[in-house]
């Protein structure tokens, strides 16, 4: 099974297998999914580690991400350049973290980064408001949205600096056993 493929060298495949939660077969399958997004751009031979990126528009049009309100943030967090244009490494990384087998801490780390819209390592009020708007498609009124933000900071902010740090977020995640099953994309 593993010897027939010519896309990766054996060492590359081993490295991918050790660094992600996927098996060989799944990595090959994911490569083909990645390539299907832009067949002209992505070569079939990755042994020379080409430096190609798939632009964000194509990533965001994947069926798994198309309707997800956070797709832009997900792509930005996992992409190297921060704009959403992903290399194969980023692509594998993204789906590895979002897979079933990723541990809770790892998922919490990336979830925090996704919800941190201004990338300042804290989830502040404005980040929360943006999150709420994306969750509810702007259905909440301004008053309600503000109330929710305040209550959230009230509940989760342990060190009382008015915003959520990574520790606050992880502490909250521990109390949410459903997080592992909801923060999961099947590919």
């Amino acid at each position: 099974m593993g010897n027939k493929q010519t896309i990766f060298t054996a060492q590359q495949l081993d490295a991918y297998q050790d660094c992600t939660f996927f098996t060989r077969k799944e990595i090959i399958r994911l490569f083909h999914r990645y390539r299907d997004l832009a067949p002209q751009l992505i070569p079939l031979d990755y042994t020379s580690k080409p430096d190609v990126k798939v632009p964000y528009e194509l990533i965001g049009s994947m069926p798994e991400l198309k309707e997800n309100p956070f797709r832009q943030r997900i792509a930005e967090v996992f992409s190297e350049d921060g704009e959403g244009n992903m290399t194969l490494d980023d692509f594998l990384d993204m789906f590895s973290v979002l897979s079933e087998m990723a541990p809770r801490d790892l998922k919490a780390y990336y979830a925090f980064k996704i919800y941190d819209f201004n990338n300042d390592d804290f989830i502040c009020k404005s980040d929360l408001e943006k999150t709420l708007n994306k969750l509810t498609r702007n259905e909440l009124s301004e008053d309600e949205s503000r109330l929710v933000c305040e209550k959230v900071i009230d509940e989760a902010d342990l060190d009382n600096d008015g915003r959520l740090s990574m520790e606050d977020f992880q502490h909250m995640i521990v109390r949410a056993p459903d997080f592992l099953s909801t923060f999961h994309i099947r590919i």
Binding site: D93, L106, T136, D178
Partner: protein
């Protein structure tokens, strides 16, 4: 002015100064670069240090341009809005620019999760793991600091230190076992390129023996080797299972449209399928195949195959490898195929055999195989179940706290699996509704119910419970009396009619056999609907209580009905099989269970057809409702558990019953999925998937598996097998076969005398089981105590964090006060400030 502008966003960073994206180290440095001027001012090495700490003489403009956290302005607007929580002094006052500078440069504000911080943290973790594996306790890994989060995350401004840490991390990774290394690498939140670099460094210099190896004893070597081998074996088995990818696409479609709750039903079905495949494989290899290749002599009556056998399991199927009665009660000796009579007593004369191997003959003792196969299958199933329950319980365990619901709702309720547009829209609406509900709960206080209202509520609930319990009792009794009527009716007909030979019955008789399964299945179908109707009139405080009550009532019904049936089969029929004219009561019970399983399946089909398809048509055409019916997860899962209980009950009497169950589950999967796609819509109410999954798998373990295991144990230990059929004919109980086989083995080979001893004291003696159960309970008790203790520690630690926060607030306000005393504020400003407070 520029400094003030930089502090525009309050305690955070000015977004204009930052670039997006934190993954690459270069981008991260920009973030920290924008803070570094502030840090330079605050750090001792800078020349401007004294000025900064001295706190500049502030002009009015500097006070003016100080911004607050957005919450500041709102905090002023209303007190006691969100309950009695005190207004947060840290965000409330107008701090001087100097104070703000100090605040900005506090370690907790500047640590960030830079790559260096992650490397430090994982260095610490790998160190701890390494020491734990070597089982050498060290004082070094005791954390001393009161703020353990800071310790690993200090910003490494020094690049030499960074390289050092990285090297140390690589060294640690090398010292770990392969499995641990892979696990640690996978869990590190850095990007792929760096992970593969670390991995290459760790693997390449593996030739160097780690310095600690000399300290490990020989025994630890062996232990490590065994553990590594087991881990390898386990991980390769798991990856093989995953690669099978059974129903991968189907599960993805269902999850994409209906979310995690409905998906959990299908995942549960898949789990049950795996259990049954295991049972089937074990039975097939150890029982069915040996017996099938050495068939016993054909029975006296020659029965032809009619279609009705598929429904009743009788007739042609009775004398096949499917049921207990077919199996011989002696050993199958490995004589050659040319010999025709492979019957009864295998005292086959080797001289008759054409082949020359006479001396060494492998014998396969069917009764012992039957007994031990069933026993081992049940034991392994028990272990797997208990392991799944404990793992699932560990994952879903949460410390119950009333606060935190809104936060969890905001961050953890979006189901990323959902990919269909309409479902996504529905999910958004659901979350919006739930948030509004939670807000309204928070804002209005709980209205105290008056005494009269409370009594009315109690009365309604009591009435509902009485109705449900009465109907359950009624159904159980009706099943009891009806089965008794059938039993006596059959006895009656047996006396007055010609005794039929063997186990074959006429067609009409067989059809009569189907009545009881039909009655029981219709009870199982209709009564939960009645319970739902009753539940409409009740008012519950929370949704989960309502779900649990519904499940409990349903479960009670199923348990009581099954209990009655077991009493009928094992208590009555097994005791007096001759009165029914049964040569072989075990085959009869096996056939009964087969019929029940099949009827259950047929009724599931009918329920899907009428419950979902026709109801959808009805509600859309007649009632003109836009909403399709909702898939009732709890009820369907209980049906699955019921079916599995029947399969487990029947495996002793019908070794091929797991195969039937496998076929049934496969067909059920596709049927339910098709019906779901066509007729149902996603549930409106939130479904706590992980808690419910834990609950269902523990229901599978406790009432379902335990009941089946107890029945099987009772049958094996207490009941007399029939005298004319099956592998245990002639013995007083089935256990004796195991005993006698072990004795025989020990007799043939004196070295195995210890086996008799083991068998006598462990398998036969019920004391052993009691002792094992007692130890299990004690261990469980200790673990719950440990968990309780950890819960208390968590509460204490939370208090400690809050106290630290209070300390911080205190120090900052004192700092501000000291500054104000040095540089007094003008009276108008003070007035303005006090007005705003």
């Amino acid at each position: 002015m520029e400094r003030a502008r930089r502090m525009d966003s309050g305690f955070g960073l000015n977004p204009h100064h930052m670039e997006a994206g934190l993954q690459s180290p270069a981008a991260e440095r920009v973030v920290h670069d924008s803070l570094s001027p502030l840090m330079e001012e605050a750090s001792p090495s800078s020349g401007e240090h004294s000025e900064a700490i001295e706190m500049h003489n502030l002009t009015e403009e500097q006070y003016e341009s100080q911004a607050f956290l957005p919450s500041c302005a709102l905090v002023g607007r209303g007190r006691g809005r969100l309950g009695a929580r005190k207004v947060n002094p840290l965000v409330r006052a107008r701090w001087s620019s100097a104070t703000q500078r100090v605040l900005c440069s506090m370690p907790s504000r500047t640590i960030g999760w830079s790559r260096n911080a992650i490397i430090s943290q994982y260095y610490n973790r790998s160190m701890r793991l390494r020491l734990r594996r070597q089982s050498q306790p060290s004082i070094r890994d005791a954390s001393h600091s009161a703020r353990p989060s800071i310790r690993g995350y200090r910003m490494e401004a020094d690049s030499e230190d960074e390289e050092n840490k990285k090297e140390q991390l690589v060294t640690n990774l090398q010292a770990l076992s392969a499995g641990d290394r892979v696990r640690m690498l996978r869990a590190m939140p850095i990007n792929m390129a760096e992970k593969s670099e670390l991995r290459k460094l760790a693997c390449s210099s593996k030739g160097k023996p780690p310095p600690s190896r000399t300290a490990i004893s020989c025994f630890s070597h062996v232990k490590m080797f065994v553990i590594i081998a087991l881990q390898h074996g386990w991980s390769s088995w798991m990856s093989f299972l995953q690669s099978l990818q059974l129903w991968q696409v189907a599960l993805k479609t269902v999850g994409g449209r209906f979310g995690t709750g409905v998906l959990s039903y299908f995942l549960f079905l898949k789990t049950l399928l795996l259990f049954n495949i295991f049972l089937f494989i074990v039975n097939c290899f150890f029982l069915v195949i040996p017996q099938a290749v050495n068939p016993p002599p054909p029975g006296a009556a020659d029965v032809s195959f009619t279609g009705l056998e598929l429904l009743t399991g009788g007739g042609y199927f009775t004398d096949t490898v499917m049921f207990y009665g077919y199996y011989t009660n002696s050993s199958l000796k490995d004589t050659c195929r040319t010999s025709q009579n492979l019957t009864g007593d295998r005292a086959a004369d080797p001289a008759h055999c054409g082949c020359g191997h006479n001396t060494q003959r492998m014998s396969y003792n069917i009764p012992a195989a039957y007994f031990f196969t069933t026993g081992v299958a049940f034991f392994v199933t028990c272990i797997i179940l208990v392991y799944s329950v404990s793992k699932s319980f560990g994952q879903s365990f949460r410390i119950e706290k009333s606060r935190g619901n809104l936060t969890v709702k905001v961050f953890c309720s979006w189901d990323f699996k959902v990919i269909k547009k309409s479902s996504v829209k529905l999910q958004s609406e659901n979350i919006c509704t739930q948030l509004k509900e939670l807000l309204s709960e928070v804002n209005c206080r709980l209205v105290e119910k008056s005494l009269a209202q409370r009594l009315a509520w109690l009365a309604v609930h009591a009435l509902a419970w009485i109705m449900c319990l009465a109907s359950t009792l009624g159904c159980a009794l009706s099943v009891f009396y009806f089965s008794q009527y059938l039993f006596e009716d059959r006895q009656h007909r047996q006396h007055h009619q010609q005794v039929l030979s063997g186990n074959s019955l006429s067609l009409k008789e067989e059809a009569r056999l189907l009545v009881l399964p039909v009655v029981v299945s219709s009870i199982n179908l209709l009564l939960p609907g009645f319970f739902n109707l009753v539940a409409w009139m009740e008012v519950y405080d929370s949704l989960s209580v309502r779900a649990y009550v519904a499940i409990f009532r349903n479960l009670l019904l199923k348990v009581s009905v099954l209990g009655m049936l077991c009493y009928r089969w094992l208590g009555k029929i097994a005791a007096e099989p001759e009165s029914l004219g049964l040569q072989c009561w075990e085959s009869y019970v096996g056939q009964e269970l087969y019929r029940f399983l099949l009827m259950d399946f047929i009724f599931s089909i009918l329920d899907t057809l009428f419950g979902e398809f026709l109801w959808k048509l009805f509600s859309q055409r007649v009632l003109r409702r836009k909403r399709k019916p909702v898939f009732d997860i709890a009820r369907n899962v209980l049906e699955l558990i019921y079916g599995q209980t029947l399969a487990w009950l029947g495996v002793l009497f019908s070794p091929l019953l797991p195969a039937v169950q496998i076929i049934k589950l496969l067909l059920l999967f596709y049927m339910k999925k098709t019906s779901l796609m066509m007729n149902c819509q996603a549930p409106r109410r939130p479904w706590r998937a992980s808690q419910m999954t834990t609950f269902f798998i523990s229901l599978l373990c406790f009432p379902s598996y335990l009941g089946a295991a107890v029945s099987v144990a009772y049958t094996v230990w207490m009941l007399k097998p029939s005298a004319e059929c099956g592998p245990f004919r002639g013995l007083s109980t089935m256990v004796i076969s195991g005993k006698s086989w072990v004795a025989e083995l020990a007799g043939a080979n004196p070295n195995l005398a210890w086996l008799i001893w083991v068998h006598a004291y462990l398998v036969e003696n019920p004391i052993f089981l009691f002792v094992v159960a007692g130890i299990f309970l004690i261990i469980t008790y200790f673990h719950t105590q440990v968990v309780d203790g950890q819960r208390k520690i968590i509460v204490l630690l939370q208090e400690q964090i809050e106290n630290e926060g209070q300390d911080k607030k205190f120090l900052i306000s004192k700092l501000q006060l000291a500054h104000e005393q040095k540089h007094p504020v003008s009276p108008q400003r003070r007035e303005l400030r006090s007005n705003e407070d």
